[in-house]
């Protein structure tokens, strides 16, 4: 079945440093991989997605890398800010007529001032 997991449950970085959050997946049949951010007491919020036939996609201060050979993706956050403190989830989207979104467990990012 589908499985999306994360390497580390917590990550602590200094403000201004770059953050890298990793994720592994088991099912190669997904159409997209997505990163969501969840702040305390709120629902997850979309950050960026990457189509499964791409290797890299950049957004504002974020970059997602996809390595299909080892079934691994990562989210890089440049110049991490206190507002980036949250739990980050990777998710896999399986499309077709029954589109659904499978989430991993999450990594809690803490930014030290």
């Amino acid at each position: 079945g589908e499985s999306v997991g994360l390497h580390l449950p917590t990550l602590s970085v200094q403000e201004g440093d770059n953050s890298i959050i990793n994720c592994a997946y088991s099912n190669s049949a997904s159409d997209y991989f997505i990163w969501y951010k969840q702040e305390s007491g709120k629902g997850p919020q979309f950050i960026i997605d990457i189509r499964s036939n791409m290797d890299k996609r950049q957004g504002q201060r974020v970059t997602v890398l996809l390595n299909k050979t080892v079934k691994h993706l990562s989210l890089q956050i440049a110049a991490t800010q206190p507002g980036d403190s949250a739990v980050y989830f990777c998710a896999a989207y399986y499309g077709g007529s029954q589109g659904n979104l499978i989430f991993g467990k999450g990594t809690k990012l803490s930014v030290k001032p």
Partner: protein, 112 residues
């Protein structure tokens, strides 16, 4: 813009009671989802719907039921509540084939 609205925000149920978690969205999204999030865990898909009148099971459907009579509403019904259903429940919606799902604020449910 209201987006996705869930009610109630908090609820305590006794074992064996039933309740309906309400979810409504005003974005005219065809796809809607129900997830549960246990402490320290990711979101697990309970049920989803690709349009009015169409629903399907996700990873963890046992103990829950859904209906989708309109595009806007996607209520989740718990029958015979059990302690294992203590969790935070999130409703979400998206356009067909969309990877950006919009989430509600969640319902924190405790079954005692």
């Amino acid at each position: 813009n209201a987006g996705v609205t869930q009610t109630p925000k908090f609820r305590i149920l006794k074992i064996g009671q039933s309740m309906t978690l309400q979810c409504t969205q005003d974005m005219n999204h065809n796809y809607m989802y129900w997830y549960r999030q246990d402490p320290g865990m990711g979101l697990k898909l309970i049920y989803y719907s690709v349009g009015a009148g169409i629903t399907d099971k996700g990873e963890v459907p046992n103990g829950y039921n859904v209906s989708r009579s309109t595009t806007e509403d996607f209520p989740l019904r718990l029958e015979l509540a059990a302690p294992s259903q203590t969790s935070v429940y999130f409703c979400a919606s998206s356009i067909p084939g969309g990877t950006e799902a919009f989430f509600g604020q969640g319902t924190r449910l405790t079954v005692v």
